[in-house]
Structure formats: structure tokens, C-alpha cells
């Protein structure tokens, strides 16, 4: 697992609202009980952690459909981190 993945999982694990001992790449955000404010807080934490800008408008983006799984979030963050350093 990449460093990014570990950090993303740690951030999502803080926000989850279900009783599940571990967060895995295959977990669906919906199944972790993330609500709209949780998503906004999660995005803030990710932006702060990786010094990236995640384009996100709560009116038009639905993190639970655009990012179905934890792995989808990891992939998106890895892409933004790569863009930053390239």
C-alpha cells in the first residue's frame, strides 16, 4: 500500500460512522456512513495533508457516487499529488 493510501485511509477512518475495525480500499464510502458535512471535512483534511486543491461543490458533486470506494479517493488524491510535483 502506498503512503498516500495509508494517509487517506487514516483520514476516512476518523470520519466513518459505522462500527468497523478497519477501513479497506474496497470499502464503499456509502457503507462507511459518510454524510455531507463529513465529506466536506474529509476533503479539507485531504487538502491540508497533501497540499492539494480538490475541486468540489456540494451542490453539483456527490462524493458518494463520484468516489464510490476508498480506493477511488486514493486514486484521485494520488493523481492530484502527482500533478503537483510534475
Amino acid at each position: 500500500m502506498s503512503d498516500v493510501a495509508g494517509d487517506v485511509i487514516a483520514i476516512i477512518a476518523k470520519k466513518k460512522r459505522v462500527d468497523k475495525p478497519t477501513v479497506d480500499l474496497s470499502d464503499k464510502l456509502l457503507d462507511l456512513g459518510l454524510e455531507s458535512l463529513d465529506a466536506v471535512e474529509m476533503i479539507f483534511d485531504l487538502e491540508e495533508k497533501f497540499d492539494i486543491q480538490i475541486p468540489y461543490n456540494a451542490n453539483t458533486n456527490n462524493p458518494r457516487t463520484e468516489f464510490e470506494t476508498v480506493g477511488d479517493v486514493v486514486a484521485a488524491v494520488e493523481k492530484l499529488v502527482a500533478q503537483k510535483t510534475s
Binding site: S36, V40, N59, T60
Partner: protein
């Protein structure tokens, strides 16, 4: 006076992104003009991600205040006092000591003197200065607009601020209405004021991820969120018999006020809370849903508010919902938070008086989740006997006013 009175409005004042008087504001609302434009107010505005707001443009404080008084007034209090003066002049009331002592000043604000707060933080944190301006505290306090109106206009009765975010002004006016109706006071100057377009506040709103990048399109397909606004609106309320005895022009009647709390999510709108507030307002007004023709919606332009408010209108009005004309003034003046309810009640009162429903501009096409009549893009002539103004705040605090044509 004691007992239960009918409560009428005899004066209106407004400082808005569409004009610095109630009359110019209303004319531009009827024309469907947009008050939105590039953010210019905060220092370093170009650094902000958000580029658009509904600012009060070309407001020249020195046209309204001497320099000595101006040094005591945050922008939010400047708006408040200018609007209150206009409302009092229109009412024709002169406040002798007896009436002054029996006049309430109740003013809503969401965040108070943000310009003063931002400036002082900039000095101490960014510029590392060791002192801030001496009146920083009394300029930024949330009760400053109420206090400044009381001092400027000589109003010596009950005076205080009401803070319930986006519902502040509606709560303030509602409480003032109940105080006049119940005979606790003989007159009230009430409304709301906000001047929240500062660097720090806009950054806070950016982080909520709910703002539209360009245009506020309430209830429309393709809406992308709210746009911040600012301004103030004030009104003079008095018992019908006092207004009639002195031959005042009566602009409208306030007949009902309802409140509720969601006790649910901090920011997500709640269907049950909205419906309870509307039903409480109907009960207070002793009116039924079928008596109402026009709704000035909360209509922020966010995906969640507009869909939930539509559902709440269906639930509160039943089949009658389909016959209502519903519009969001925020499409033209943005969301002025603690002033919004007052600016919107001015629009509602004048809609009833003139028989014109102002439009919801920026409307592209229907959203299946918002299936009512939102008076898209163009004002409409409409006989209105009674109307409702909705305000639903962050923190789950809801307030609804009902007004009637005076006859």
C-alpha cells in the same frame, strides 16, 4: 396600550445590492435585475477562490454620517442606521420621550461587525501591529446595529440583537411583531443587517463548498449554490389604531409568525422543521394554506435547500402548493444572511401591496425535484391577499412570517 392589536407596517427602509432605498430596491426586483458581480470589497480579494458576490455598490458612508459618528460604525451598522432612518421618515413618526420609551429596536444579524474583526485580525496577525483601533470591540459586537439605531434615532424601549444565522432578521421581526401585537410596546423598529463580504468570512464560506461560482439559480436545474450578499432592511411596526389615528399610510399588515428548530443536522435542511415553522405561522395568523397566494422562499440556490423547501411547501400546502407563486429574491440580491429575512419581507410586503410577484432570475429549466411555480425570470401581476416569507438557518433554526394586504 394593552391587549391584542392588529400590527401594521408604516415605514420601510433598505440598503441593498440593487439600490440604497426601499423604493429603488423594489423597482429593480420587479425588473428582475441582478445585483451580483465581482467581489471587490475585501483587501486582496483577487486571492479569493470565490469571485462573485452581491455587494452593496457605491455606498458612500460620508453621505450619511459625519466623520465623528462614522468612526463608531462598522459597515453593518452603517447599513442598519441608514435603513432605519429611511423607515422612520416614511412612517412619519416623531419619537417624543413617551413614545421613545415604548418603542422597541430589535435587529437581526448573523455575524455582526465582520469588517472590523477582519481589519483588526489583519493588523495583529499579518502586520504584527501591537494595537488595534480603540473602538474595535463596540464596533464588532453583534448588538452594534441595534444599539446604533437606538442611539441615532432616539429609541429608548427594549432593544437587542437576534442571532440565528440566515433566519436572524425573520426572528427579530417576528418577536417585534408579537411585542406590538401583545401591547408590550407601542411601536417597533425592526429588521436585519449584514456586511459579511470580508476576506476571512468568504474563506469560511469557500470551505463549506456550497457557493455558486457565478450565478445563483434557485430552484432551477443546473443550480450550483448560493452567492453571498449584504445589506440591511428595517421597518416600523405599530398597532393599527395608532397608525389610523395619526393618518399614517399603511403599507401592509403582519398577521403571523412561526418558529421551529430541527434538532437534527448542523447544516443540512430538514423537511420537518420547515413544515412545523410554516404551520406554526399559519396557526398564529389564523389562516389556512388556501388563503395564501405568494411565497417568498428561502430559496438559497443550493441543491439541498431548494429540493427540501419544495417538499416542505408540498407538505404544508397540500394540493394548493401547485397554485402558489413562489420566488427567491436571493437570485437577485444573493444571500445576505442575517439581513436576508428583512430584505425579503420588504419584497413580500411590496409584492402584496402592488400585486406583483417578483421573479426568480437565472432560472434555466425545471428540476424534477423542484416542481412548483417559481415565477421564472420575469415578474408577474398577481392579486395577493396573503403571503409567506420563509427563512431557514444553519443550526436548524427556522422562522416564517405571514403578511396580508391591508384592508
Amino acid at each position: 396600550m394593552t391587549g391584542v392589536h392588529r400590527v401594521v407596517v408604516t415605514g420601510l427602509g433598505a440598503v441593498s445590492p440593487l439600490g440604497h432605498t426601499a423604493a429603488s430596491y423594489w423597482e429593480n426586483l420587479k425588473l428582475g435585475k441582478s445585483g451580483l458581480g465581482p467581489i471587490t470589497l475585501p483587501p486582496a480579494a483577487e486571492e479569493l477562490t470565490q469571485k462573485v458576490a452581491a455587494e452593496v455598490k457605491d455606498f458612500e458612508p460620508l453621505k450619511h454620517f459625519a466623520e465623528r459618528q462614522l468612526s463608531t460604525l462598522d459597515r453593518v451598522s452603517q447599513f442598519a442606521v441608514v435603513a432605519a432612518r429611511e423607515a422612520i421618515v416614511q412612517s412619519g413618526l416623531a419619537f417624543d420621550m413617551a413614545l421613545s420609551a415604548r418603542t422597541a429596536t430589535i435587529v437581526g444579524t448573523g455575524v455582526g461587525g465582520q469588517t472590523t474583526l477582519d481589519e483588526s485580525f489583519r493588523r495583529v496577525y499579518l502586520e504584527k501591529r501591537t494595537r488595534v483601533f480603540p473602538l474595535t470591540i463596540p464596533k464588532l459586537m453583534a448588538n452594534a446595529p441595534a444599539s446604533q439605531i437606538s442611539m441615532d434615532c432616539g429609541l429608548r424601549g427594549p432593544a437587542f440583537a437576534v442571532a440565528s444565522a440566515c433566519a436572524s432578521a425573520t426572528h427579530a421581526i417576528g418577536i417585534a411583531f408579537h411585542m406590538v401585537r401583545g401591547g408590550l410596546v407601542d411601536c417597533a423598529v425592526t429588521g436585519g443587517a449584514e456586511a459579511c463580504i470580508t476576506f476571512g468570512t468568504v474563506r469560511g464560506w469557500e470551505a463549506m463548498r456550497v457557493m455558486a461560482p457565478d450565478i445563483c439559480r434557485p430552484f432551477s436545474k443546473g443550480r450550483m449554490g448560493l452567492v453571498l450578499g449584504e445589506g440591511a432592511a428595517m421597518m416600523v411596526l405599530e398597532p393599527l389604531e395608532r397608525a389610523q389615528a395619526r393618518g399614517a399610510t399603511i403599507l401592509g399588515e403582519i398577521v403571523g409568525f412561526g418558529m421551529s428548530a430541527d434538532a437534527a443536522d448542523l447544516t443540512a435542511p430538514d423537511l420537518g422543521g420547515m413544515v412545523r415553522a410554516m404551520q406554526a405561522a399559519f396557526d398564529d395568523a389564523r389562516l389556512g394554506p388556501a388563503d395564501i397566494q405568494y411565497i417568498n422562499a428561502h430559496g438559497t440556490g443550493t441543491a439541498a435547500n431548494d429540493e427540501t423547501e419544495t417538499k416542505a411547501l408540498h407538505e404544508a400546502f397540500g394540493p394548493h402548493a401547485k397554485t402558489l407563486a413562489i420566488s427567491s429574491t436571493k437570485s437577485m440580491i444573493g444571500h445576505a444572511l442575517g439581513a436576508a429575512g428583512a430584505l425579503e419581507l420588504v419584497a413580500t410586503l411590496l409584492a402584496v401591496r402592488d400585486g406583483i410577484a417578483p421573479p426568480t432570475i437565472g432560472y434555466i429549466e425545471p428540476d424534477p425535484a423542484c416542481d412548483l411555480d417559481y415565477v421564472p425570470n420575469k415578474a408577474r401581476a398577481l392579486a395577493i391577499e396573503a403571503a409567506v416569507s420563509n427563512s431557514f438557518a444553519f443550526g436548524g433554526l427556522n422562522a416564517v412570517l405571514v403578511v396580508k394586504r391591508f384592508s
